[in-house]
Each structure stands twice: as structure tokens, then as C-alpha cells.
Symmetry: C2
Subunit: 199 residues, 2 copies
DNA sequence: GTTAGCATGTAAGGAGTTACATGATTTT
DNA sequence: AAAATCATGTAACTCCTTACATGCTAAC
């Protein structure tokens, strides 16, 4: 989850860890709390070991916005990370290989959705439909509880189920709309994130 | 989280692990997936070590529904757990000592809410207000993103923020209603869960 | 008599968090 | 020169999951 999000953000532009955390907070803020440094820095280390990202400015030929990297890399302390070519492949691979984890958890679905602009249309549709199915399953579970076991439960438990059911119904409707848009091609234009840098 | 939920369910009646999991699934189903056995059984072991629950039928004087425990304890394999007096104290302590973890996570709030019928009114109010505050904070974060950074973000990221914002607004309204009810005393009757057994 | 579901458990590991420790830079 | 905030990191731990292993019991 973190791996995908980091690669996705570094795909847009090189950054140091602290800045990365801020951007992660806004990008993932709709479904997750801020990630901790104790999680972020070890993960950056691991991604570097794996070869998906590298320390310092991007390789020659990619000026990397000129006001970002050159000024900061010498400053001691700050470490700017840049995604590598293999990292970009890895990112696409993670985006496309979206299994059940992607539908099951709020976080799994959220991260993938957050990078839909870089995901191919077929995968987008697959994820949206997978998610819809899971939410429908949860919805049915709550409906069953409310219709079959309502008398046995206290008012607060019932209220929790009702609120949960309502949230599920809304999410399903939201997903239906998104799915319809995908099929119509009424989709926002994906990439083209400033042609100055990166792939 | 699991500890609280297990104590809460065993407070209602003695049960074996498998049955416990089923009840956990419906009780917590509105905000969490089913818990795994690999998590449940070790936790039961730990609760027993700590003295909050005990293996077998409840101590003499508490018949424990007569059709549950006596028939099953001899059956080999099935282990029925009963909450102890210390376990009941522990449960109340966990219910009342509701810190920030309770407001921060969906799960933390959900478990506490699920046992509101056994929580004292002051604590209920404190938890609801704490939760409202957190959700309002998240809501403000998303509003900021949508008003200040909207042009910089792709359509999917924006859609995620909008949907998240909508969910937060709804949750705040729901909490407002619950808080108003608590203050009015328009509250469902809490305990009195069959006077045959338990405290 | 074999499949399905009931029932209990262990070992290893994933994906994070908290608490701590340190130091540079900017603002007041 | 003190306080805030930027910036990086480590060690220990929490809480849970997956995968595996085992055996009983009911239904077909």
C-alpha cells in the first residue's frame, strides 16, 4: 500500500521523505490517517534496495524541475528520491495486478483509486466492479442482521448496522455511477502530467 | 479491540470460540471484516491467562442457560469460555477508559459504539463528541484540499476527496443526532439483558 | 464413505505504530 | 537565543492475517 503510493508520488516528481509524507497525507487523506515516519523511512530504504527508487537527482537528460533537486541535495540532511525506470515498471505492475486485497480493504481500494489516472481503463473497470461486489456482500450481511436478528439486538447495535447499511448503499451507488462513466468513456483525461519531466 | 469485543460478547453469555467468531462477525460487521481464528484463539488464551475469562461453565449458582454449557463441555474439542468477575471489571474499565484510539480509527470507535448499551451515559457522550471532533478535522482537511489544491489534482483524486468529504459530512450529522439524543435522554434502555444470569 | 461444515489450534510474517534520539533551519 | 518546524532515522512492539495442521460430526 505504502509502496504503491510512494512510487506513484515519486512518479510525478522527485521528493524528499518529509515532503512525501505531506503529499501522502493529502492524497490518501480521504481514507487513511497520516502515515508515520517510522513507516515511511524504512520503506524508502527498502524501495531503494530493490532498485525502484534512487537517492539524488534523476539521471542526466531529465532536468527534474531545476529548482527542486539541485538546490537541495547538497544541503545535508535532506535526501531527494527519484523513481527509476524499473520503479516505473514496478508501479504499473502493482497498479494492474489488483487482487482481492484491492477490493477488501478501504485502504487497498483507496490507494488504487487515487492512482486511477495512471491505471488503464480495463483495470479501472475491474477494480470498480470487484469493489462493488464486496460492498454489496457487506450490505447484504447487514440487511440480514437487520431483518433476521433485529429483536435480539440492542438499540445501539441496531443503529450501527443501519448507519453501516446506509454507507454501503451510498458507496454502491457511487460505484455504479463511476462504472457507468467508465463504460461511456466519460472519463477524465489520465496522464500528460507536465511533459517537461518523467515518462 | 478484540479483547473488548470478546469480553463484551462473553458478558452476554458463555460461548466457544467458533460461535464467538460468528457473533463477532455480525456485531462488528458494520465496520470490520470477520476476524481470523489465528487471531481469536491466541487472544482467548491470553484472556484466560490474565484471568478475565475461564474455561468451562460459570461457577456454581449461575446456571448459564442450561442447554448451552452442560451438553457441550464434555464433547471433546469444544471449549466453552465464561467471563469471570474480574473480566467484567476489566470490561467496564476498557469501556470507560476510552482515549484517542477510540476516536481515531473506524474500528476503535465501532467496537466502543457496539457496546454502548453497557457504557455509562457520560462516557457515551464523551466518545461521541471526541469522534465528532476527529471526523470534523478530517472533513476540514478534505475541504482545504478541494478549495486550495483542486487545479493541481487529477479528476479521480478529486472524486475520491469529494466522496470522502460527503461521507464525513454525513457521519458528523449522524453523530450530531446521536449526541442530541443522549442529552435529551432519548436513549434506548441499556442493560437488563435477561436477569437470569450475569451481573 | 465421502463431502461439507464444525471446531481448535500453531508458526511465520505483514504492515504498520509509538516512542525515542538527533540535528538543521527558520521565525519570533 | 528560544521556540517552532523541518528533516531523518532506529528499536521495540501491536495487532492482526495467511497458511498450515488436525480431528470431529452431520448430511448426502
Amino acid at each position: 500500500m505504502l509502496e504503491l503510493a510512494i512510487l506513484g508520488l515519486l512518479h510525478e516528481s522527485p521528493m524528499h521523505g518529509y515532503e512525501l509524507r505531506k503529499q501522502l497525507t493529502t492524497k490518501l487523506g480521504a481514507f487513511r490517517a497520516a502515515i508515520s515516519y517510522g513507516s515511511l523511512y524504512p520503506t524508502l530504504r527498502r524501495l531503494q534496495t530493490d532498485g525502484w527508487i534512487s537517492e539524488g537527482a534523476p539521471p542526466a537528460g531529465m532536468p527534474a524541475s531545476a529548482d527542486e533537486v539541485p538546490l537541495l541535495t547538497g544541503k545535508r540532511g535532506r535526501v531527494v528520491y527519484t523513481i527509476t525506470a524499473e520503479g516505473k515498471e514496478r508501479f504499473q505492475e502493482l497498479l494492474t495486478a489488483a487482487g482481492p486485497e484491492t477490493y477488501d480493504s478501504e485502504a487497498g481500494f483507496g490507494v488504487h483509486f487515487a492512482f486511477f489516472a495512471r491505471t488503464d481503463p480495463a483495470t479501472r473497470l475491474r477494480i470498480l466492479e470487484g469493489r462493488r461486489r464486496r460492498v454489496e456482500e457487506r450490505r447484504e450481511g447487514m440487511r440480514d442482521v437487520l431483518s433476521r436478528a433485529a429483536e435480539r439486538l440492542d438499540a445501539y447495535t441496531l443503529e450501527l448496522q443501519r448507519h453501516g447499511l446506509d454507507a454501503c448503499e451510498r458507496e454502491v451507488r457511487w460505484l455504479e455511477e463511476l462504472i457507468a462513466n467508465e463504460r461511456n468513456g466519460t472519463t477524465p483525461q489520465p496522464p500528460s502530467a507536465d511533459p517537461e519531466r518523467s515518462s
